[in-house]
Amino acid sequence: MDDLLQEFLTETGENLDTVDRELVRFEQEPNNADILRNIFRLVHTVKGTCGFIGLPRLEALTHAAESLIGQFRDGASVSAIAVTAILETIDRVKDILSELAEKSEEPAGNDENLIRELGILADHAKAELQQKPQRDVDGTDGADPVAAYLARHGGPVPTTSAEDALDLVFRSAPGPQRGRDGRIEHTAASEPGDEPVSREQRQVGPATLRVNVDTIEHLMTMVSELVLTRNQLLEISRKQGDHGLKAPLQRLSLITAELQDGVMKTRMQPIGNAWSKLPRIIRDLGAELGKRIDLVTEGADTELDRQILDMIKDPLMHMVRNCADHAIEAPAERLAAGKPEHGMIRVAAYHEGGSVTIAVTDDGRGLDIERIRRKAIQQGLATEAEIGRMSDAQASRFIFHPGFSTADSITAISGRGVGMDVVKANVDAIGGLIDIVSKRGLGTTITIKIPLTLAIVAALIVVAGEQRFAIPQIVVRELVRVKAGAEHRIEEINGAPILRLRGRLLPIIALAGLMGADDSPHEDGFIVVTQIGERQFGILVDGVFHTEEIVVKPMSSKLRHIPIFSGNTILGDGAVVLIVDPNGVAGLVGAATSGEAFLSEAAAVAATAAEKTTVLVFKSGPDGVRAVPLSLVTRLEEIDAGEFQTGSGRILLHYRNRLVPVVPVGETQIRADGLQPLVIISEGELTVALAVDAIVDIVDEVLDIEMAPGQDRGIIGSAMIRGRATDIIDLAYYLPMQERGWRHAGYERADASAPAQILLVEPSDFLRDMLTPVLKASGHRIAVASSFEPARHRMADGAITTVLIDIDGDIESAFAFAADLRDGPNGGRLRLIGMTTLVTPDLHMRASQARLDEVVAKFDRRALLSELAERRPGLKEAA
């Protein structure tokens, strides 16, 4: 009995899930007879099995539902209320089933109400069916002969008087417990099915076999063993060189590989299984929230390992709920925003290079980045300066932070601050990656990239001490060879090993040290640079062998408490190797990397666009390659060191009738004799000569700047220039460091003598610092504002003639701000210039619609200056 019941529960569960899905589909396409037939068949099956096993309560419920569905099949019109009632019945059945699974017996309970309701609806549908043939008396064979036949013979034919009909309508009217879509379309004429029901069209179930998971696991083990044995055989045959063995061995090899593939495939399931519940959830949520939401799914047959599927199911559901609750606006709001009334959530899955990518896209309101920034500051996740420096993409990642929620109100569905962080944790746990892209007002896309299977992973085999270990390839960013005295060497702070990597400090954990063989001099070896979420650290190993696909075996329960290992595997040579859990190792590093200080490259890539920038590359210090945007450089000089003068502890240079401070960049040593290369930088009245070791090149590169952590003074960040990681120096640091008093005096003088003419509205500290010197150097008086509010205040003093507005950040507000200025006093004479990292024709069009005069690229100094220069003659005329 137990086996039978178990079988029944699994099968019925699956059937009901299908019914759920099909019903929602059916509601949208009420004329699709195929769907209806399918539903009817499924419900009928469930009913049949219930009766067979002897579960009267279930049987009664499914019977009532079946009769109602039967009426629809026969051509009665489908109403939302009926669908809701059937869905409710299915929920009830599911409840009973879950109790049944626990107690092995049907729980006691009363389903009278539900059954009566279904009965009334069925009666109503039947009455409707009976009226139909009366209506077309002449057309004895109506459009649907089967429906007509069934309606005539389906039961006692009552004389349908008007009174009866009225009564029926009354009884089947929605009760107060109905949702807002619970209306009855009893006047709608039913549409008969397009095709007559033919008996041959009986659907055949897919040819599948239910197999116990343990059986498959066992098969897996056996296959792994077979692979090992084959490897041993191959080894022996290689040694003996017996040609007779070669051919059969080759065949064995092939067969084994195929067998392994086949067994792996048995673990795969289509991802559609994970989202089979989504249509129902979206339907219910939509009704509850009064929103209209269409769910579109793509790639449902993309296959994933069963284990991963289980882990991704909940996060996926959570994400889609989030979309429905937060992202999709109410219909009225959508219409007002010029969007279609129906919101859309698209869930798509596809294979991409050995992993599966799942994208959840909505066309809702998008993330409110400003609000995220504010909340992040409020919750102490980052300082204001750090936030200002972050790109929108970086800031939006805060939603993955534990406990982070921007929702002011908490709804029953989501917004409790546990949400995306849980999603991220789940994704992290299976070694996946998660990313988010959001456009204000246009929608959000969350992308999850997950491995195909957990059972087999690509791993880097390394050696530490006397043992080999496997490190999952997915977390490995790069390998760095370290050697005493070489370019990369390990330094220590109070015994803690640290590596300088591209001007930043990477905490190092010695794997051998974790083994207990500590205090070994770690001078030679490899650093496996590892990334977990946003953190990076290096694992020091003695040697690196190769990458291998390993079959992951779970850790023994006696060893599961050791955080640094996630499992073990058997390598081709038969050795057991432990799999390092990077999460666990990261946990050991603990506070050292948990801060935001070491933002990873992936997270920190600033949202600068694919615009080429001309940069000056120079050397400073023994191995420091740095760069500065050429637009900020006034002149390059080589001056004989003998001309340097020392005054009050500073090195000064008499340059073009002025005393200019000479400042070494980074580790540059100012030469005592010979020619010293100098990079002359001017900012307004202030000039500084930066001493460098050598000017290397002037390069056009797409600057993808990765912001440096806050404490790294003098460096804005680094970027790949000519394939090499290069630090971009922070001029703002070098200028005031030398000339603090001077600079401020200079500013005040400028402010006092003439009010600023140009207002720069730019939220990014970096870009503000970069643009200000450029503008000042060209003789403009400039005021800066980091956001629109202070900018408005600046405008009040009236002298501003040109406003440079950043339109990368919040484009809507930028345009709104521009419109305000245009409509304000002197608005017509104002020159409004939008600044963006990437000028697109589309942006140009939108900008001109917003009555901006011009849009220029931020990094295009010449264009920016010529834009400003264009205005200047006109200004003089006006003055």
């Binding site: 043992q467 006696k558 038969g574 057991v576």
Partner: protein, 169 residues
């Protein structure tokens, strides 16, 4: 297998049972002969490849590959509160004599000094663990068989594999 289950039940719980004879695999730890109920032993093998597990409890020697299965090796010496001998130091190159045991669905190997013969003993020679025995030992044994020339201490396999059962007080 049914019989094995019965065997275990007997060895673990009842000094006096329905069976007159009991089968044991004998193993040696130093001079002491110990008996493991034969129903629990499914393998005796010798290996020289072991993977050490850092941060593991001291009783766990490491992981072994037994025909494609990863087996957790437990040092019976340490488990019984004796120092590990040179043969079982943490070098991993030495030969290890292992007795394969399944416990709660997982594979374990008890590392012993040597494996003796299989003995069929009569229930009548069985006695409960002497009261003055080391507490540690008392917790890990079910009783003693009186043999002609020596005593055979019967181990409680489940207790031995329950590592959280802390040995020495």
């Amino acid at each position: 297998m049914r019989l094995d289950q019965t065997d275990r039940g007997l060895a673990a719980a009842a000094p006096v049972g329905a069976f007159d004879s009991l089968d044991y695999v004998t193993v040696m730890i130093g001079d002491q002969t110990l008996g493991l109920p034969i129903g629990r032993v499914h393998d005796v093998f010798i290996t020289n490849r072991i993977t050490l597990v850092p941060r593991a409890p001291s009783e766990i020697v490491g992981l072994l590959n037994l025909r494609g299965r990863v087996v957790t090796a437990i040092c019976l010496r340490r488990r019984l509160g004796r120092p590990a001998t040179a043969r079982q130091d943490r070098e991993g190159k030495t030969e290890l004599v292992a007795v394969g045991i399944d416990h709660e669905g997982e594979a374990y190997a008890l590392i012993v000094d040597a494996v003796g013969e299989v003995m069929r003993l009569d229930q009548s020679t069985f006695e409960t663990t002497p009261v003055h025995l080391d507490r540690n030992w008392a917790a890990l044994t079910t009783g003693v068989h009186r043999l002609d020339d020596r005593l055979l201490v019967i181990l409680d396999v489940d207790a031995i594999l329950r590592l959280d059962l802390q040995a020495a007080a």
